[in-house]
Homo-oligomer: 250 residues x 2
């Protein structure tokens, strides 16, 4: 028997052309920063973009984007508010930004409920800021959201890449498309991650240098878009889009 | 009714003088490196030390310590093997180092099973490398392991500290002792984390500078102990021990 929620979720998401799940093997690699920056860059190009922060382990896109004082509307479902030209929704609106020691099953149910009731309308691209690694929530999202594609962020650290390897092997086994791997916070010109990515049979989408200005830019999107991180992210957006551009937009 | 496993786990762990759970609000802050380094420093001082890697989200202490080719013995329970003067056990021995998409409840059951059957014997200190954040496993460990004390690792990033704040508030609400907070990967002399830690009413245990040599030292404990990271970790060990030194050892 098929889970009836699959058809509900996909009915809600049918107006979305492309769903990019920004993920990582472990936390602390800059996943949320890159998800936020990619969404901003696409919106600035004139695409209709949504950003959905599903990282219940440490929701942070609202801090990165400096989003305050907006809340989703309830109109026979949830209508995401707009901020910086994006339709924006975060799990933090529902965990109220305090410690929420939800059990795994509760987290999954909350995510599925949110996916079932959120009205994104027509979007060229929905960027999902995923929980890091392979947990209940990631497994449920893979199962429920048709057409989801993964963009995986790592750092140059072997410890980070070992966790990416596990995630990539799982996604391949489940036949989930992987757009490619981004190497973030580079401090030298090593090519190990590029080579290891290619050995896994995956696309290496590009490198983003470590940029101390990023920390100062948290909460200020204009400043964020002037960082070396954002400049490099623009090239990565082009790489992602070259194979499968959104329909609408500019 | 009390969970019967609580008494089993505590019977198994009764020979351990001090249980230090090295935790973080999010991944990627250096938690596993600091847990491994603290355990090595204590063992080098002559204490009887165990290191238990419970971070099923990205087990990495075996990579950091370069531990290969040793396996736990089964003798009416699990006997942790020795490596680098430590009694060492990792969840990775039981997930076989490949992608393990266990559901939250399964992870919890596996951790509890491991705690129930592992024979640590007498230890001055057991260092737990915890999963980051507040998940099922952390909640179960808090519930099951009497006398557990938390050492929380953060980076200077506000994004990391916001997740620490949530963890600290939860631990305080549950009346779990917090030894203090360590600020890792410092790149400048900012005092924001120190101030925010003190505002939470917690001990600021010290700063560890970002040290690019750490990445090169992964898998080589002798080299690891010569890094600036390890030098600073020694001062933190003294700070931890000054209030409650282990009984045995040097």
């Amino acid at each position: 028997m098929t889970d009836p929620r699959i058809s509900i979720v996909n009915e809600r998401m049918k107006g979305i052309h492309k769903i990019v799940a920004v993920s990582s093997g472990k936390g602390g690699v800059g996943k949320s920063l890159i998800a936020s920056t990619l969404a901003l860059i696409l919106a600035n190009k004139g695409y209709k973009v949504g950003l959905f922060d599903l990282d219940f382990t440490s929701p942070s896109t609202h801090i990165i984007l400096g989003i305050e004082g907006i809340t989703p509307k309830e109109e026979k479902g949830i209508v995401p508010p707009e901020a910086h030209g994006l339709k924006y929704l975060s799990i933090t609106y529902y965990s109220r930004d305090h410690a929420s020691p939800l059990r795994g099953a509760d987290v999954s149910n909350a995510l599925i409920e949110l996916l079932s009731v959120t009205k994104w309308g027509n979007l060229d691209c929905l960027v999902l800021d995923m929980p890091p690694g392979i947990g209940d929530a990631t497994l449920d999202l893979i199962r429920l959201v048709k057409g989801i594609e993964f963009l995986i962020v790592t750092t140059p650290s072997q410890l980070a890449f070992e966790t990416v390897r596990k995630l990539a092997i799982l996604l391949k086994a489940l036949k989930i498309p992987i757009i490619g791997i981004v190497e973030n916070m580079k401090m030298n010109d090593g090519r190990t991650i590029r080579r290891q990515t290619e050995n896994l049979g995956l696309n290496f989408l590009g490198e983003i240098p470590f940029d101390p200005r990023v920390e100062e830019s948290i909460g200020n999107t204009n400043k964020l878009l002037t960082t070396a991180m954002a400049e490099n992210a623009k090239a990565i957006v082009s790489a992602i889009w070259s194979n499968s551009p959104p329909n609408g937009g500019a």
